[in-house]
Amino acid sequence: MKIHLKIWRQDERDGPGGMVSYTLDDVTEDMSFLEMLDALNGVLIGKGERVIEFDHDCREGICGQCGLMINGRAHGPLPHVTTCQLHMRSFRDGDTIYIEPFRAAAFPVLRDLKIDRSAFDRIIQSGGYIAAGTGSAPEANSILVAHDTAEAAFDAAACIGCGACVATCKNSSAALFVSAKTVHLSLLPQGKLEAPQRVNAMIAQMNAEQFGPCSNTEACEVECPQQISVLHIARMNWAFNKSRLLGRKG
């Protein structure tokens, strides 16, 4: 296949950037999208040009480090996959593909397609944990967790922190990411005690970063590689409001 590419190039954080056109020959269907970019970078090295910088690591959809806007969609045309799981069989010979970084005020661009998602880490730091220090744990089977509760907690815990939810949201809201963590932990008996403080602290930190509010368009769920449900956002809001009503803000 011959593929035409228009790719965002930006030298440095806060610097100017723009779309640059490339054409790549000999693209095959079994190449992953990132392998196609590897091939393009090989061509650029041959010409002595600086390669296109993009984030990636595990290339099997679990580390959450890759993430590109492909033709305006987070992680490309398929629902519920990461960029590294997208293959060129989803494109046709002669296609033009627009590639941009995940865009949000809270995710500044470092160079080309690489972004800074440390805001997510700071949200977790604010309270996204159960404070169980090493050594303090009781016998594991002394905490019974109903099968369905464990499965539901897992569904929320499966979030890979890629940021597609933020990138796809017209408000750049991090509500899906934050709710996935608050719900994962508060569903489990061992995480209930800290739930009111947790939800307040995490929402406060989310607001302190430059994420926008959630306006319930549900676009995030459509793109989420782990199919995290928007119902978690409702559960988070409920927990947040309940903690305020009961005066337990932590």
Binding site: E12, T28, D30, M31, M36, D38, A39, N41, L44, I45, G48, E49, R50, V51, E53, H56, D57, C58, R59, E60, G61, I62, G64, Q65, Q85, H87, L110, R111, K114, D116, S118, F120, D121, I124, Q125, Y129, I130, A132, G133, T134, A137, P138, A140, N141, I143, L144, V145, A146, H147, A150, E151, A153, F154, A157, A158, G161, H184, L185, Q190, G191
Partner: protein, 635 residues
């Protein structure tokens, strides 16, 4: 080589150590700083646990977030001898399975401690909120894994590594919030700083600004993972590298068991020349999947059209008592044997079938989906094939390195104050690792071993003079790191770093992979030497010295080229077959490994002597007081 094994009976050694380990007064802890390189399970759990005790920690990872370390990709589970299934499990049983699984090439005391601490890890993870699979009664569920006959594997669907890592990551984030851990993401370690024989700091490169930075500490922990990515095509993440351990090696830390590399039997096969990685499909699939190839070589029929009598379930045939749950080294080698004999399937004839039709027939599709749903989905995303309707195609792929930096019982390397945890060290798995033991080892090292052994070391450093980053050793190390970067940028040849990495990987797969021979290894050593010369003549790195993944890759490949040669030397020197190390010259008539306990019952620890000098071998004899060495059989 003194492994510093505590005295006393095997079952009491760890208790003896804990009872005699020195402590640091709580008021003094915040004056002591520890550097932790790597934020996977071993690094994050160690950093968080030390910070909880009150130590100051500087923690580094090259990823954009510490949650992305490659522990995240482990799928199937984590072992612990809880004996919840009442199926005869015990600390001793788990110890024995692991020693035997490692083909009697690991230390009894280390392995016993691993089994002994396993139960506490499950407690810790559950307390952190890891959503392990549960029975309908609310109790924890278990499943079986390769190489054992009990059910001791705890799991969170096919994402156990992710969930355990999130537990450790969240514990780490909590300590970042308290200010006890300073976290440095997008930083790569370039050198270890050693002052008067003790590890006192590191040089790192900020991968955004490109600036070299200095950090000093009272002890340094490397938890930087394994080096399976040396084969280029592997199940590892693209960024996985040996640079931290290799640069420590060049500063005096010995490397051990270097050629013991696990080739995982159930990965997706290579499908083309542009491929950058091989995706793992969890070994847990072998609980319900049956592995087969067509009985007739070169059979091109669709798998569903091949009738039962014309299928060769070769693992069930060769190893009837373990069948599809034979350990990884044995399963991978058996697959290679069938593929080499012309029975391989798939477009490149490089795969075998993993078939779920019997399990789906017996248990129903829903039950199989609940156990492995995300793996079937992942398979479909990558290959476009629905594995509920036809068998998966799987193939062996380089996966885990049992080798790494040599450590004693306290996880300290041959450099005082340099501790090595998790896959980065060589310690517990011998010549072959059992499935679901890697998450365990990383966690046990980080949560339960290092938090005793590092304070014991620090207690002896309390009165030592503090080394600052103004020490001349930092000047020297930084200057050398800068020289190396300048060198890589200045070659300006015509070939990218990937070219050399791919060629090195191909050579190692052929000569130092599933099967090795004297002739092949000698050829590989020669050719790696030539490739290394070509690298320094023809490498081309474009771009500047700021964000530059090509520069990062080049530095890692430079290290791989040296490490690859040592792997081959290690494999050449070990004239026996054991675990993952299969020397063609040493096999039985029916193709099984022939171990040589008389001459090779030791760990090979290698000392760096300089770029153009051969390594010096320091054998650490393995003394077995508890178990009798036997032929490892799964028949």
């Amino acid at each position: 080589m003194d492994a510093k094994i505590p005295p006393g009976p095997l079952a009491d050694k760890w208790n003896y150590y804990k009872a005699h380990a020195r402590l640091v007064n709580p008021a003094n802890r915040k004056k002591m700083k520890v550097i932790v390189v790597g934020t996977g399970l071993a690094g994050a759990s160690c950093a968080a646990s030390l910070a909880e005790q009150g130590y100051a920690v500087d923690c580094f990872c090259f990823q954009d977030s510490s949650r992305r370390a490659h522990s995240v990709a482990a799928q199937g589970g984590v072992n612990a001898c809880k004996n919840y299934k009442n199926d005869g499990d015990s600390v001793y049983r788990m110890f024995y399975d692991t020693i035997k699984g490692g083909d009697f090439r690991s230390r009894e005391a280390n392995v016993y401690r691993l089994a002994e601490c396993s139960a506490a890890l499950i407690d810790q993870a559950v307390a952190q909120g890891v959503p392990f699979a549960r029975e309908y009664s609310g109790y924890l569920d278990n499943r079986s894994f390769g190489g054992v006959q009990v059910s001791r594997t705890f799991y969170a669907r096919g994402q156990t590594g992710q969930q355990l890592l999130l537990g450790a990551y969240q514990a780490l984030m909590r300590q970042v919030h308290t200010g006890k851990v300073a976290l440095h993401t997008r930083h790569e370690m370039l050198d270890l700083v050693v002052v008067e024989g003790k590890a006192k700091g590191i040089i790192v490169r900020d991968l955004e600004t490109g600036k070299l930075e200095r950090y000093a500490a009272d002890a340094v922990v490397l938890a930087s993972g394994g080096y399976g990515k040396i084969y280029y095509l592997s199940t590892l993440a693209m960024g996985c590298n040996a640079s931290a351990i290799w640069r420590a090696h060049k500063k005096g830390a010995y490397m051990a068991g270097v050629s013991w590399v696990q080739v995982h039997p159930t990965s997706l096969p290579q499908s083309g020349q542009h491929q950058s990685k091989l995706t793992l499909m969890s070994e847990s699939l072998r609980n319900d999947g049956r592995i087969w190839v067509p009985l007739k070589a070169g059979d091109t029929r669709h798998p569903n059209d091949i009738p039962e009598p014309e299928r060769d379930y070769y693992l069930e045939r060769r190893y009837p008592s373990f069948g599809n749950l034979a350990p990884r080294d044995i399963s991978s080698r058996a697959a290679k044997e069938r593929i080499d004999a012309g029975h391989g399937v798939g477009a490149m004839k490089n795969a075998v079938y993993l078939d779920f039709s019997k399990a789906i027939g017996e248990q129903g599709k829903d039950k199989i989906a609940e156990k492995y749903g995300n793996l079937f989905t992942m398979y479909q995303k990558i290959t476009g094939i629905n594995a509920y309707a036809q068998p998966m195609l799987i193939s062996p792929a380089a996966h885990f390195t049992m080798g790494g930096l040599w450590v004693d019982y306290t996880l300290m390397s041959t450099i005082a104050g340099l501790f090595v945890l998790g896959e980065a060290n060589f310690s517990d798995h011998g010549a072959n690792r059992l499935g679901a033991n890697s998450l365990l080892q990383a966690c046990v090292d980080g949560y339960f071993v290092a938090p005793y052994t590092i304070p014991d070391y620090l207690a002896g450093e309390l009165k030592a003079e503090k080394v600052t980053t103004a020490h001349p050793a930092f000047d020297l190390a930084e200057a050398l790191a800068q020289t190396k970067i300048d060198e890589l940028l200045s070659i300006q040849g015509d070939l990218p770093a990937d070219y050399f990495h791919k060629n090195l990987g191909r050579l190692l797969y052929d000569t130092c992979g599933l099967s090795r021979s004297k002739e092949g290894l000698e050829r590989a050593i020669r050719e790696i030497g030539e490739l290394r010369q070509e690298f320094y003549r023809r490498l081309k790195v474009t771009g500047d010295d700021k964000v530059n993944t090509e520069l990062e890759k080049a530095g890692r490949v430079a290290d791989y080229l040296e490490l690859g040669a040592l792997m081959c030397r290690d494999a050449l020197a070990r004239e026996e077959s054991c675990g993952a190390h299969f020397r063609e010259e040493y096999q039985t008539e029916d193709g099984e490994a022939m171990r040589n306990d008389r001459d090779f019952c030791y760990v090979s620890a290698w000392e760096w002597q300089g770029a153009d000098q051969p390594h010096v071998l320091h054998p650490e004899p393995l003394v077995f007081e508890q178990v009798a060495l036997s032929t490892r059989s799964y028949k």
